[in-house]
C-alpha cells in the first residue's frame, strides 16, 4: 500500500482545481444571495419564497444535484448551441452555487431583520438615502453575521466539491473515488485529509475576517481577505500552467476494470505522442452521453449496457448480432465510432460461495427455483432495476426472500460474510476465481452478453493516429487476463497493484 505522505504532494493539481471550483461557487452564491437578501429585507414575500427555495435545494442529496445538471445542460443546448459544456466545471459550479446559497441567504436575511430599529430610524432621521443607509449602516452592521454564513457555505461547498468528480470535474474527490473503487485506502485517506484540511483552513481564515469585521479591526479583516485572495490566485496560477491544447480525455466509470483500461489506453496514446487526461469515477449514465457530445473522447462501454439503456431493447438476439446493431446505431445516431471489441465480456452472472452452493445442491439458476424464498440476493445499486434481472427473474420464476444493494466492491465481502447468499457478479471479476465462487449456469440464456468495446467520440472518430495507436487493443484482452488485472487491483494483501501497474501487466500479457 502506498504511503499517504507520498500521495499528498501529488495532489497539487487536484487541490488547485478544488480551490478554484469552491471559490467560484461561493463567490457566485454571494453575488446572488446578497442582493437577494437586500430585496428580501424589503419584502416579506420575497424573503419567504427565497428562503424556501434555498432550503428545498438543501433537501436534494448533493450527488443527485450534481448529476441533475447534466440532463439540464444537455436540454439547454437547444437554446445555447452545441458549445455548451455539459460535464466538468460548469455543472459542478452551478450545483455547488445552489448548495451554497442557503447559509449565506439565511444569515444575511436574519442579520437584516435583527438590526436595531433605533439605528435604522436614526439613519432615516439624519437624512440618509436608501443606498447610503444600505452602505453606511445595514451592510457594516450585518457583515459579521453574513461572514458567518459564508463560512458555513465554504465548509459545505469544499466538502460537496469532492462529489464533482462524478460529473467529470477534477477535484480532491478524484483520489477518494479512485481509492474507494480499487480499495486503496491510502488514496481515500489522502483525498479526505486534503479536503478536510482545505475546509479547516478556509473556515479559520474566514473566521479571522468575521472577527475582524465584528471588532472593526482593519488589520484582521484585510489581512484575512488578502490571504484568501492569495490562496485563490495561487490555485488559479497552478491550474493555468497546464497546456492549453485540448487533450484527449479518457473516461472511466466507477470500478477497477475501467480504471485499468483507461490507464492502458492512456499509456498507448502517450506512447504515440498524445497528451491525455483522465476523467475517473464518472457515473455510468454520464459516460455514454459524454462520449456522444465529445465531452470525453474515449471510453470502454459494454454491449449489454448500451443495448438495454440506450436502445431500450429487452430481446436477446445473440452476441454477434447485438454488437453489430449497436455499432451501426452508435455511428448513425450519435456519430460515435465503435472501434471494436476488446475480447472479453464483463457480463452479469450469478455467483455463490462453493460450500453454500454444494449444501443447497445448486449449480444453475434453474436450481434456485423453490429455494430462493429462503435466500438473500445482493446486487449493485442499479441491478434490480435492470432488464437483465427482470429477464432472469421471470425466466426462472425466482422470488428471493430479500434483495440488498451493495457497492460492487463490497458485494463479494457480503457473500463471504453471509450477508448475501447469491450475488450478481461480473464475469471479468478476478474475485470469482480468487474466492473460488460458483457461477450459476444460465440454461435459458436469459442473461445477455456484455462485450467490452472501445468507443470514440465524434471529435476523434477519424483521427488516424489515435486509431492506429488503439487498433492493437481490439481482440487482445482475454477474460482471464482481465480477471487477473482486476484482482491485482482489488486484492488487499501485499500483491496489490495500482491501476497503472495493473495496466502495464495487462499490456504485457496481451502481447502489446
Amino acid at each position: 500500500m502506498e504511503n499517504i505522505w507520498e500521495i499528498l504532494p501529488g495532489l497539487g493539481d487536484k487541490l488547485a482545481a478544488h480551490v478554484v471550483l469552491s471559490a467560484s461557487a461561493i463567490g457566485l452564491a454571494m453575488l446572488i444571495a446578497l442582493p437577494m437578501a437586500v430585496w428580501a429585507g424589503r419584502s416579506a414575500l420575497v424573503s419567504r419564497v427565497a428562503l424556501s427555495l434555498a432550503s428545498l435545494v438543501q433537501t436534494i442529496p448533493a450527488l443527485a444535484l450534481l448529476a441533475l445538471f447534466f440532463p439540464l445542460l444537455l436540454s439547454l443546448r437547444s437554446v445555447f448551441g452545441e458549445g455548451l459544456p455539459t460535464l466538468g466545471f460548469l455543472p459542478a459550479l452551478m450545483a455547488l452555487t445552489l448548495y451554497a446559497l442557503l447559509p449565506i441567504l439565511r444569515n444575511a436575511v436574519t442579520a437584516q431583520a435583527n438590526l436595531d430599529p433605533g439605528v435604522l430610524e436614526a439613519a432615516d432621521g439624519v437624512g440618509m438615502t436608501r443606498w447610503q443607509k444600505l452602505v453606511l449602516v445595514e451592510a457594516p452592521l450585518s457583515a459579521p453575521f453574513i461572514m458567518a454564513g459564508i463560512r458555513t457555505a465554504s465548509v459545505w461547498t469544499i466538502g460537496a466539491a469532492t462529489l464533482a468528480t462524478t460529473i467529470g470535474q477534477p477535484s480532491l474527490g478524484d483520489p477518494i473515488f479512485a481509492g474507494l473503487q480499487t480499495q486503496n485506502w491510502a488514496l481515500v485517506l489522502a483525498g479526505c485529509l486534503a479536503s478536510a484540511g482545505l475546509a479547516l483552513a478556509a473556515d479559520n481564515l474566514l473566521w479571522v475576517i468575521e472577527v475582524g469585521l465584528a471588532k472593526r479591526s482593519r488589520w484582521m479583516t484585510f489581512g484575512g481577505m488578502a490571504v484568501v485572495a492569495l490562496g485563490i490566485l495561487a490555485a488559479l496560477w497552478g491550474q493555468s500552467t497546464g497546456s492549453d491544447d485540448r487533450r484527449i480525455v479518457i473516461a472511466a466509470k466507477q470500478f477497477s476494470e475501467q480504471y485499468i483500461l483507461a490507464q492502458l489506453i492512456g499509456s498507448r496514446l502517450e506512447a504515440a505522442g498524445y497528451a491525455v487526461e483522465y476523467r475517473d469515477g464518472l457515473g455510468s449514465a454520464v459516460v455514454h452521453s459524454a462520449v456522444a457530445n465529445s465531452s470525453v473522447d474515449i471510453a470502454v462501454d459494454y454491449t449489454g449496457t448500451v443495448w438495454a439503456n440506450y436502445l431500450k431493447r429487452t430481446d436477446n438476439p445473440g452476441r454477434e448480432a447485438m454488437y453489430e446493431v449497436i455499432r451501426d446505431w452508435e455511428a448513425r445516431e450519435n456519430g460515435v465510432k465503435v472501434l471494436g471489441r476488446l475480447g472479453f465480456e464483463n457480463a452479469y452472472a450469478f455467483a455463490m460461495r462453493a460450500d453454500r452452493a454444494k449444501a443447497l445442491g445448486v449449480t444453475s439458476l434453474a436450481d434456485l427455483n423453490g429455494k430462493a424464498p429462503q435466500l438473500t440476493v445482493g446486487g449493485d445499486p442499479e441491478f434490480f432495476e435492470r432488464p437483465e434481472w427482470i429477464a432472469v427473474r421471470d425466466a426462472y420464476g425466482l422470488r428471493f426472500g430479500k434483495s440488498r444493494n451493495f457497492a460492487p466492491t463490497f458485494m463479494y465481502n457480503a457473500l463471504q460474510s453471509g450477508e448475501a447468499d447469491v450475488i450478481s457478479a461480473y464475469t471479468s471479476d478476478g474475485r470469482i476465481a480468487a474466492d473460488k465462487l460458483v457461477v450459476l449456469a444460465d440454461p435459458e440464456g436469459a442473461l445477455p452478453s456484455y462485450d467490452a468495446m472501445l468507443v470514440l467520440s465524434p471529435r476523434i472518430a477519424n483521427d488516424k493516429g489515435v486509431l492506429a495507436a488503439l487498433a492493437p487493443l481490439i481482440g487482445a484482452i482475454s477474460v482471464e487476463a482481465m480477471r487477473e488485472a482486476n484482482f491485482a487491483v482489488d486484492r488487499e494483501d501485499a500483491g496489490k497493484l495500482t491501476p497503472n501497474q495493473a495496466a502495464q501487466g495487462l499490456a504485457k500479457k496481451a502481447g502489446l
Binding site: P117, A122, D124, G125, G127, M128
Partner: protein
C-alpha cells in the same frame, strides 16, 4: 405687534394606517423661535404627527408646510438636514465613533466637520472633547443622548424635533438634559417641537403646550393657563397629575 410668519404649519393632517386613523385632521401653526410641547397619552397620535415634519411618516391627507414649502415636495435627505431629530431610541451608529456619529449629517451633505466644530458641539451638550474618539458602547445612557442631541445640532438646523427624547433616562439625568436643551434652544435661536407623555416636563420646558387625544388636537395653551385650569377635560386630567403631586409635596414640607 406683528405676528412673525409661522416656521411650521400643519394643514388638515390626517394619517391612516389601514383601518387605524392615528391622526384625524390636525391644523396648527408653530411660530419661529417657540418651544412647543406635544402632550398626550400613548396612542394619541403625537409621535405620528411629529414624524410628518421630517417625512418619516407621509400624511394620507393634508400637508405640512416648513419655511413656506410643502415638505412632501422637498427631497427627504435635504429636508432632514434642516430638521434636527432626537428620539427615545437615540440610534447612535454602533460602528461609528462619537465624532463620526455627530458629523454624519454634514458628511452626507459632502461637508467634513473639523475637530474644533466637533469639540464645540460636545461642549454644547457638556461633554469633554476627549469623548470624540470613543465608541457608543463605552457611554452611559445620558451621555449617549447628549451625543444624540449634538448630532441633531451638527448641521445647524432651523427646527429641532424631539420624540420622547428623555424617556429612557433616569430622573436626575432627565432633568439636567431637559434644562440643557431649553438653554440651547434659547442660545441657538431654535424652534423646538418636543413630544412627551409627561405633562410636568412639558409645563416646565415649553412655552406652548398642545394636547392630543385620539388623533385630534384638544388643547393649545401656555403652561400658566393650563395650571390655572384652562384647556378642557383631557388637558386638565393630564395637568392635574403634576399639580397634585406638587401640592402634596408642598404640604409635606409645611408639616415638616
Amino acid at each position: 405687534m406683528e405676528t412673525p410668519a409661522p416656521l411650521l404649519r400643519f394643514d388638515g393632517v390626517i394619517c391612516r394606517f389601514g383601518e387605524v386613523t392615528a391622526v384625524s385632521g390636525v391644523s396648527c401653526d408653530i411660530a419661529s423661535g417657540s418651544f412647543v410641547a406635544l402632550v398626550g397619552a400613548s396612542g394619541s397620535g403625537k409621535s405620528t404627527l411629529l414624524k410628518t415634519v421630517n417625512t418619516l411618516v407621509d400624511p394620507s391627507e393634508g400637508r405640512v408646510v416648513f419655511g413656506g414649502e410643502d415638505v412632501s415636495t422637498l427631497p427627504p435627505a435635504r429636508l432632514r438636514r434642516r430638521v434636527g431629530y432626537v428620539f427615545q431610541g437615540i440610534g447612535l451608529f454602533p460602528h461609528f465613533s462619537v465624532a463620526e456619529n455627530i458629523a454624519i449629517g454634514p458628511r452626507l451633505a459632502g461637508e467634513k466637520l473639523p475637530p474644533e466644530r466637533i469639540a464645540e458641539l460636545l461642549a454644547l451638550v457638556e461633554l469633554d472633547p476627549a469623548f470624540a474618539r470613543r465608541m457608543p458602547d463605552e457611554l452611559s445612557g445620558g451621555q449617549r443622548q447628549r451625543v444624540g442631541v449634538a448630532r441633531a445640532l451638527a448641521g445647524g438646523p432651523e427646527l429641532l424635533i424631539m420624540d420622547e427624547p428623555f424617556g429612557a433616562l433616569d430622573p436626575v439625568t432627565r432633568d439636567a438634559l431637559g434644562r440643557k436643551v431649553r438653554e440651547l434652544h434659547e442660545r441657538l435661536g431654535l424652534t423646538t417641537v418636543m413630544v412627551t407623555h409627561d405633562m410636568a416636563e412639558a409645563l416646565l420646558l415649553a412655552d406652548r403646550v398642545l394636547v392630543m387625544d385620539r388623533g385630534a388636537l384638544v388643547a393649545d395653551e401656555n403652561p400658566r393657563a393650563l395650571l390655572a385650569g384652562a384647556g378642557g377635560t383631557v388637558a386638565q386630567r393630564l395637568a392635574s397629575v403634576p399639580r397634585d403631586q406638587a401640592e402634596r409635596l408642598a404640604a409635606m414640607e409645611e408639616r415638616a
